[in-house]
């Protein structure tokens, strides 16, 4: 039997190293992918319930339905602001898209992956612009807005080729997509992240400890 309780004085000096801030840990990957998975579940449900209101909005003002686009854009900014690693927005959107593709949805299997990639890149750009240093509401709004632009561009590149991008429909659709991206994928996700952090679920992340004042 091999124990003792040797008294040693406390180690008072704590070496804080600033390494690997941008290196992905397993928990970063797991949480980013689960955000993607939960988002896919919500995207899938949203696609079912928004079909009717979509047409209603289009009838009111052509392009107005873009105001709902943010509902498919939030995984990227949310994952990015939580795990704070390069590529997090793209990764989360891709995981969501692959899962959606396997489930099957109205944009087709393979194509969904492409949409996810494009929207993820849009969201990611905002964080790249600030070199993954500024994690604030402003960056989130930019991320949501760029993701909206990506979504708009993709639509006109594919399904809506027949509509003049510079016409009123194109402009309205761009504005509504950007506003929707900012409000839902940017603003709402910022507060969602703060709310999740307050539950202590993000204590493994600098993002969570910052909100809880534990750093």
């Amino acid at each position: 039997m091999s124990t003792s309780t040797s008294p040693t004085s406390p180690a008072t000096s704590v070496t804080v190293t600033s390494r690997a801030r941008l290196k992905w840990r397993v928990v970063d990957i797991a949480v980013a992918s689960v955000i993607g998975v939960a988002s896919a579940l919500i995207y899938w449900g949203v696609a079912l319930v928004t079909a009717a209101p979509w047409n209603l909005l289009e009838a009111i003002l052509p392009g107005l339905a873009g105001i709902m686009n943010g509902l498919w854009l939030f995984a990227g900014p949310l994952a990015a602001v939580i795990v704070r690693k390069p590529g997090a927005a793209i990764y989360a959107e891709l995981v969501a898209a692959v899962l959606e593709a396997l489930l099957g949805n109205q944009w087709g299997g393979g194509e969904t992956v492409l949409i996810g990639l494009v929207e993820g890149v849009g969201a990611e750009l905002a964080f790249l612009f600030v070199l993954y240093r500024a994690w604030n509401l402003g960056t989130m709004l930019l991320s949501g807005a760029l993701s909206g632009v990506a979504s708009w561009a993709y639509s006109f590149f594919t399904n809506l080729q027949a509509i003049d991008v510079t016409g009123s429909y194109g402009v309205v659709y761009l504005l509504t997509s950007v506003i929707s991206g900012m409000l839902i994928a940017g603003l709402a996700m910022w507060f969602l992240y703060r709310a999740i952090a307050r539950t202590g679920a993000l204590d493994h992340f600098a993002s969570g400890r910052e909100v809880r004042g534990l750093n």
């Binding site: 039997m1 091999s2 124990t3 003792s4 309780t5 040797s6 008294p7 040693t8 180690a11 000096s13 704590v14 070496t15 804080v16 190293t17 992905w24 840990r25 397993v26 928990v27 990957i29 797991a30 949480v31 992918s33 689960v34 993607g36 998975v37 939960a38 579940l41 079909a51 289009e58 052509p62 990764y91 692959v98 899962l99 593709a101 396997l102 099957g104 949805n105 109205q106 944009w107 087709g108 299997g109 393979g110 992956v113 492409l114 594919t158 809506l160 080729q161 027949a162 509509i163 009123s168 429909y169 709310a195 999740i196 539950t199 202590g200 679920a201 993000l202 204590d203 400890r209 534990l214």
Partner: protein, 894 residues
């Protein structure tokens, strides 16, 4: 059984609070005793910091050694463990004991190499080998851990860890893949991996089990054996078990204990385990280590048991053979929150029926008055499939009923049905007039959410399924406010309840941040606040140490005085004894009842298998046995990855590639000729590979909804030209826009339909293998993503539970949209917690390192895969050639 236990132990229970102060005084003496014992012990190896080096070559290197080790989690101000010195010799089987919060799990995680890292600068202090290093998680490590003399972070694969929650440890859908995962991460060659998988499954008694079987249908015991097999396949020298049986029913516990016992005998591995209820394990254990904490600066001489004080150090309060430790009268186990295994229990440790001065004068198992809730001809089940039928049961005020039976026997199904949260398959659950007064009818399942909340409350097994607000106070006020109480009154009531449940200091805290025991108390307080007449608790004592267990048991006992009818779903025999509850056991057909005197002296009153119907109505019966349909041992046909056998034989990566090739070139031209030709070709090809047009349309129906929507937008706002058909505001329908609309609709079908069918049904694991092996995407991300996807099905179950809990709490009457967002939030929090645990489980299998990894499954490529790609590309090429020849090619719709 319950009768005898009660008589035997009546009057000898003592509450832990009475003894707590004594424990503090005793512990210094305990420590001296422990040290004295150690000195005289011949097997004693040395962990005294100074002499460890000289001792090292005299005797075998310890299998596991902590030297002044400590860890502070990033979110905590205090060290969870500090200054720990402990050495475990090869082949020892150690049981670690200590109160909740003493850092047992942290110790195991540290030993598994999951805390801290060996990168970056390390600074030694003047104290020699005590160093403090911050890791990427923001945690701080002190001291060191060595596995067979090697620093733990360089001993990858030498240590296997099994965690508490069986569900959290499965990374893959298929059973065999989970066992293969550890060896893959250790870069074991493929043939060797499958040999190890067979051996490991053999060792846990799962020989010959179908390797492709889904983990979805395994029982808790089987899942946990699988987790043990997964750890064994790494061939670790040290096996760490963190409460491996806390979540299991008695049968599952037996399975896991037997599996671990056999495996240890076979491999000779060292074992270190943490388990609150160690009864079943005690034969396997040859050394017990009791942990406590001491205040800093007192030189370790003043051992206390109070966790959470700054500067405290972790000390070994006692260490020795189980028979010596548990026989030591100077150790106050109850005060330390430790369950003494039944074999070693002394009078003071035994659990007897709780009695208090203010309890009602009728026995808890009988209750009083007329039944408040009755079932007649009730059949229960989910999705209309009955698992038990002809249930005639009664529940009275002041009565405590325990629903017992094996996992999967339907206890939760029955309790949810009783609570009005699940539709009965046949028959009915009827509320007495006194309970149903003012509600919509007498069937709880028909009541509105608010009517239900003030009458029947349900406390879920996982407290996080239940939280609906952001502060502890709001959580308790929710029920009363929802059922019409004024805000001020509700606040007063809630404050009182929080005081009674000793949660008042947390009133403003976020409910999720409480400890496990506190969360449990909060959910009970919140359920009680709505003043229900019936309270149903699902496994209220899971994973609690002895102290919190006692608190919960006393709490439930005290509710009886309020005239509440209490139903407890449980595996916990001690709880049934303590509450003196009436027992209703659900027994699968062809199984024997476990609770009616099995292996004990016969209880005359229970007399074999009761016929439910008539007999259970007799209120002097203390036990009722309800037969339920057998939980089947399943054989699953391997699931085909497509309705077309041809498609199913194609490599998943090629299927995804084909989906791109068949669709993307179509974007070049927007005209009805290319789109029409492509559609036609696709229907022909799909029919040729066994998917008829009607089937193709049915499985891609969303495309056929999306296509007209986009076509309409194009018709009204599309590029114009030719005759104007109709104009109104911004809408302009012309020859050109009409033509483009038709083309758009056709093309969406031409692009979407084959792209969906090509990937629909692909197995996620096979796709991940392809991503990793063929596309060379990084394994960390591919398999991390895959693990996240497996949580998808778990999250669906969570969603169902969240929906039920919200109805139970009076939130179910809100509009769908108002319900959706808070519920989605709860799901997100749950999923993040689950994924954090999953990350730990994956790292415990050696995942996430930068070294090479092998692959247990080969992602094979055949000639047919290339033919598939070529055929996929041929369709759009032919379509575009057709439109070019026809002169209708329209580049990007221009």
């Amino acid at each position: 059984m319950t009768i005898q236990l009660r008589e035997q132990w009546t009057g000898v229970t003592e509450t832990p609070t009475d003894r707590k102060s004594a424990a503090v005084d005793d512990s210094a003496a305990v420590l001296r005793d422990a040290n004295a014992m150690l000195d005289g012990d011949e097997v004693c190896s040395v962990a005294e910091a100074g002499s460890a080096k000289t001792a090292g070559h005299r005797r075998a290197v310890p299998a596991l050694e902590f030297r002044n080790w400590g860890y502070r989690h990033a979110s905590r101000r205090d060290f969870a463990v500090r200054g720990l010195n402990l050495a475990v010799q090869p082949g020892e089987h150690v049981l670690l004991l200590g109160a909740s919060g003493i850092g047992k799990s942290t110790i195991l995680c540290g030993a598994a190499g999951l805390l801290g890292d060996d990168e970056g600068p390390v600074r030694e202090t003047d104290e020699g080998d005590v160093m403090a290093v911050e890791d990427a998680d923001g945690g701080v490590t002190e001291g060191s851990i060595a596995v067979a003399g090697v620093p733990v972070h360089r001993a990858q694969g030498k240590v296997g860890l099994v965690l508490q929650d069986p569900d959290a440890q499965a990374v893959f859908q298929r059973l065999g893949d989970n066992v293969a995962f550890g060896p893959e991460n250790l870069d074991v060659p493929r043939d060797e991996i499958w040999r190890r998988v067979d051996d490991a499954l053999d060792a846990v008694g799962m020989r010959g089990v179908q390797l492709t079987r889904s983990v979805m249908h395994l029982s808790g015991g089987q899942m946990q054996r699988l987790a043990v097999a997964g750890a064994l396949a790494m061939q670790p020298d040290v096996l760490l078990l963190d409460e491996p049986t806390a979540n299991l029913d008695p049968d599952g516990v037996d399975q896991v204990v037997a599996a671990v016992g056999d495996a240890l005998e076979l491999t000779g591995a060292t074992m270190v385990m943490v388990e609150h209820r160690a009864d079943a394990w005690i034969d396997l254990v040859d050394r017990v280590v009791v942990l406590g904490a001491t205040d800093d600066g007192e030189g370790g001489g003043d051992a206390g048991i109070v966790p959470g004080q700054d500067g405290r150090r972790t000390v070994v309060v006692a260490d020795g053979r189980p028979e010596d430790i548990f026989a030591d009268p100077s150790i106050d186990f109850a005060g330390l929150g430790i369950w003494v295994p039944e074999r070693y229990r002394r009078a003071g440790d035994a659990i007897g029926a709780i009695h208090t001065a203010d309890e009602p004068d009728y026995p808890a198992w009988r209750g009083t008055g007329e039944p408040v809730l009755t079932t007649s001809g009730l059949a229960i089940g989910r999705n209309g499939q009955p698992i038990a039928s002809h249930l005639d049961l009664e529940f009275r005020a002041g009565q405590i009923t325990a629903l017992v039976g094996a996992n999967g026997a339907g206890k939760s199904t029955l309790s949810l049905t009783l609570a009005g949260l699940l539709e009965p398959v046949t028959g009915e659950v009827v509320a007495a007039a006194s309970l149903a007064d003012g509600a919509r009818g007498t069937w709880p399942v028909d009541w509105t959410s608010r009517q239900l909340a003030s009458r029947i409350s349900y406390v879920f097994q996982n407290p996080e399924h239940q939280f609906a607000t952001s502060t502890v106070l709001d959580e308790v006020m929710l029920g009363p406010v929802r059922t019409g109480m004024a805000e001020a009154d509700a606040r007063q009531l809630a404050t009182g309840l929080l005081r009674r449940f000793r949660l008042d200091q947390y009133a403003a805290a976020n409910p999720y941040t409480l400890s496990g025991g506190e969360k449990r108390r909060l959910t009970v307080a919140a359920a009680l606040a709505a003043a229900p007449r019936v309270l149903i608790l699902d496994e209220p004592t899971f994973g609690q140490d002895r102290r919190t267990w006692m608190q919960i048991a006393e709490l439930i006992h005290s509710l009886r005085g309020d005239g509440v009818s209490i139903v407890v779903v449980t595996h916990d025999r001690d709880l049934v004894t303590a509450l003196d509850a009436k027992v209703i056991e659900l027994v699968p057909e062809q199984c024997t009842a476990e609770w009616n005197g099995a292996g004990r002296e016969p209880v005359p009153a229970a007399g074999g298998q009761d016929r439910p119907g008539r007999d259970s109505r007799k209120q002097n019966r203390r036990e009722t046995v309800v037969p339920v349909t057998q939980v089947n041992e399943r054989y699953e046909e391997p699931k085909s990855s497509s309705r077309s056998a041809c498609l199913a034989s194609i490599n998943p990566v090629f299927r995804l590639g084909g989906a791109f090739l068949v669709s993307l070139p179509m974007l070049l031209s927007l005209d009805w000729v290319s789109a029409g030709v492509a559609c036609l070709l696709e229907f022909l090809v799909l029919a040729a590979i066994g998917i008829r047009p009607w089937r193709a349309i049915r499985s891609t129906w969303p495309v056929f909804i999306g296509a007209p929507c986009s076509a309409l937008a194009v018709l009204l706002y599309g590029k114009s030209g030719g005759d104007v058909w109709w104009q109104w505001g911004m809408m302009l329908v012309t020859d050109r826009s009409a033509e483009l609309a038709v083309a758009t609709a056709l093309r969406i079908v031409a692009i979407g339909m084959p792209a969906i069918i090509a990937v629909l049904g692909i197995d996620a694991t096979d796709l991940a293998d392809g991503f990793s092996e063929l596309l060379r995407l990084p394994d960390r991300f591919v398999y991390g993503g895959l693990a996240g996807m497996r949580l998808f099905s778990v999250l669906q179950d969570d969603w169902t539970a969240l929906t039920a809990s919200r109805r139970s709490r009076g939130l179910g009457d809100d509009s769908k949209i108002r319900q959706f967002f808070p519920q989605a939030f709860a799901l997100l929090v749950l999923s993040i917690r689950r994924s954090t645990t999953l990350a730990t489980a994956m790292q415990a299998r050696g995942f996430g390192g930068t070294g090479p990894r092998s692959h247990a499954r080969a992602s094979e490529v055949h000639v047919r895969d290339w033919i598939f790609l070529a055929a996929s590309l041929a369709i759009p090429v032919l379509a575009l050639v057709a439109t070019a020849v026809n002169g209708t090619f329209s580049f990007f719709g221009n």
